[in-house]
Amino acid sequence: MSSDPIDAAIAASGHLPGGLLQVLHGIADRLGHVPPEAIERVAKALNLSRAEVHGVVSFYHDFREAPPGRHVLKLCRAEACQSMGSELLAARLERRLGCGFGETTGDASVTLEAVYCLGNCAASPALLFDGQLRGRVTAEKLDAIVDGLTEKQESA
């Protein structure tokens, strides 16, 4: 199998009927995002138009068109987490990281995103930190995560 991530994703899932999402996941899993050059190559391999592929990439939240920061923090902002104070955590994160939701910090260390339900609603508020689910998140636990990021950055 090719070592090129886009070729590898096409080789792994391109043959599946209606497998475009799986191909794009394959690319995003390997690269963290779906780069513009992937659109044309995937379109060609799957016999689709570039518009069709671009339309799918832009429709789904999971497919970023630009690389994320070194860490990705997704805070659940849906109802159950709101009932346990997630909006206070949201404001705290924006303040501490100095960036809004859907944005990456200036030093490219963290991408902050909102997510609507992680299925951890009996342990709200919940967040996903670099793919790891955390429950019953408090301001202190949140600070510990953010502190860990800034410390790592200082020592780097």
Binding site: G18, L21, F59, A122, S124, L133, G135
Partner: protein, 514 residues
């Protein structure tokens, strides 16, 4: 030193892991080794008592004894207290199955969840697994399978509550060279997690239900459309599919019957709307998740234009017990036209959050107070939202409604997927109404105008009302807008977004006046 091996259970469920279960499991193994205790660690599914997670269980001659919520720092103390032999400890709860919350449940669909290693096929069969599939294979005709499901009264657990057997009948009767079974595992509603717990805790049950559906309607291929927010469930399901194939009950020759059925898992990509069945089909076909107009029904022209059974995870996972124990056994639970059980989910600001599987007919009060124990914050419950982001908000005056599809709807509620989100008296209902519109604006697929534009206009109008800008005129406008969305939208996303908004206005008008 004690060389009798003790079995210790630490859940592998995502909720338990989000609260440190992996670290607790490692600490137990470490401490046992240091003390020379022989321990066999089993990573089980969750018992559904989430407020006690991580819930560690120890096998004793009297039964399994529960300790929770256990943190890494508690582990040394637990060993010191002799928890391996069920010793007393402040985190101890006695026998797991005697805990009221658990004991009073009626677990049919979730019977096996939490008992043991979710991927052990031996344990699955020992606890009644595959009996439903065997019974389906020995049915005289495919029609018998479908009619058994019809008689059970099972209705779609994903929210719409359409009779499952009737849907299967339509697919079975549709002539086609190929048919599909699609499992909707895009559990996107806030406050719901029963699909996830089932998939992580008893994945074979879902696969068995899908295989039975395939036999019933004449489909040989099934898809599970799983939301990408559930990586643990993905891992478990992929392993389960692999093992079921190897064991010969999925694939070319189901249990030596000569019948075929195989399952493929497809990962969604973070779009709430793909939980809507026609948007899910588009997504499975590799397209944008745009809602299709109905008709044609997916049962006639669904995936790749072929007749397709689309059922939610809990619906399909309820099928094996029906085929195994018979439709009458299942239908004996419940009330009115709501037969069987529903795994309710207690979520949000609730003291004892978790999964409660009960027959239809209990009241919201029982669920909120007897099981839930009131709010986590200790303040009074002010509102609950049932049925996800498209469900109405209910005030305390409605808490005596019985949880039955028809009775609950008559009282202004919607049971939906059975997720109950609890709010205390600090909630600002005007802000929740605004959120409902904002969420719809973010997640609308954009196909129909009332939903695409209406949701954005809804946010603006609510903002004006909250800013006291021409309040009366804007309230009229908001209701008018809700009317347009309700009656003009293509699917339930735009059609039901007004439900939380209007219920907030109706039951909590004071929140719009400050």
């Amino acid at each position: 030193m004690n060389m009798t091996t003790t079995t210790v259970f630490v859940p592998i469920d995502a909720t338990a892991r989000s609260l440190g279960a992996d670290e607790v499991a490692a600490a137990i193994v470490r401490e046992a080794a240091a003390r020379g205790e022989a321990v066999q660690l089993v990573r089980n599914g969750t018992r559904g008592m989430c407020w006690l997670e991580p819930l560690v269980e120890v096998t004793t001659p009297a039964g399994r004894v529960a300790y929770g919520p256990v943190e890494v720092d508690d582990v040394t103390g637990l060993f010191a207290a002799g928890f391996l032999r069920g010793g007393a400890h402040p985190l101890g709860h006695g026998l797991t199955e005697e805990i009221e919350y658990f004991k009073r449940q009626e677990r049919l669909t979730f019977a096996r969840v939490g008992q043991g290693d979710p991927l052990s096929l031996t344990a699955y069969e020992a606890q009644g697994g595959l009996r439903g599939l065997r019974s389906a294979l020995s049915a005289g005709a495919a029609g018998d399978i479908v009619e058994e499901v019809v008689r059970s009264g099972l209705r779609g657990r994903g929210g719409a509550a359409f009779p499952t057997g009737i849907k299967w009948r339509t697919v079975a009767a549709a002539p086609a060279d190929r048919k599909y079974v699609c499992c909707n595992a895009d559990e996107g509603d806030s406050g719901t997690f029963s699909d996830r717990m089932l998939m992580e805790g008893d994945p074979y049950c879902l696969l068995e239900g899908m295989a039975i559906a395939g036999l019933g309607v004449g489909a040989e291929y099934g898809y599970i459309y799983l939301r990408s927010e559930y990586p643990d469930a993905e891992r478990t399901l992929l392993a389960a599919i692999e093992r079921a194939r190897a064991a010969g009950w999925l694939g070319e020759d189901i249990l030596g019957s000569g019948r075929r059925f195989d399952i493929e898992l497809r990962r969604g990509a973070g779009a709430y709307i793909c939980g809507e069945e026609t948007a899910m089909l588009e997504s499975l076909e590799g397209k944008r998740g745009m809602v299709r107009p109905k008709p044609p029904l997916p049962a006639i022209a669904g995936l790749f234009g072929k007749p397709t059974v689309i059922n939610n995870v809990i619906t399909l996972a309820s099928v094996p017990v029906i085929l195994d124990r018979g439709s009458k056994f299942y239908a004996d639970y419940g009330m009115g036209r709501s037969r069987g059980t529903l795994p309710f989910q207690l979520a949000g600001n609730v003291r004892r959050g978790g999964l409660v599987e009960k027959a239809f007919g209990l009241t919201l009060n029982e669920l909120l107070y007897d099981y839930g124990g009131g709010t986590a914050s200790g303040r009074p419950i002010r509102a609950v939202q049932i049925g996800g982001p498209l469900g109405p908000y209910l005030p305390a005056a409605k808490f005596d409604l019985p949880l039955d599809y028809e009775a609950f709807a008559a009282g202004g509620g919607m049971i939906g997927h059975g997720g109950v989100v609890v709010f205390d008296d600090s909630v600002d209902m005007a802000s929740m109404a605004r959120y409902a519109m904002a969420f719809c604006a973010i997640e609308s697929c954009g196909k129909c105008t009332p939903c695409r534009i209406g949701s954005t206009r809804g946010v603006e109008v609510i903002d004006r009302i909250r800013a006291d800008e021409r309040r009366d005129a804007n309230l009229v406008l908001l209701r008018d807008l809700c009317d347009t969305m309700t009656h003009g939208s293509l699917c339930a996303m735009g059609g039901l977004t007004p439900a939380p908004v209007l219920s907030a206005l109706e039951h909590f008008p004071e929140d719009f006046e400050r």
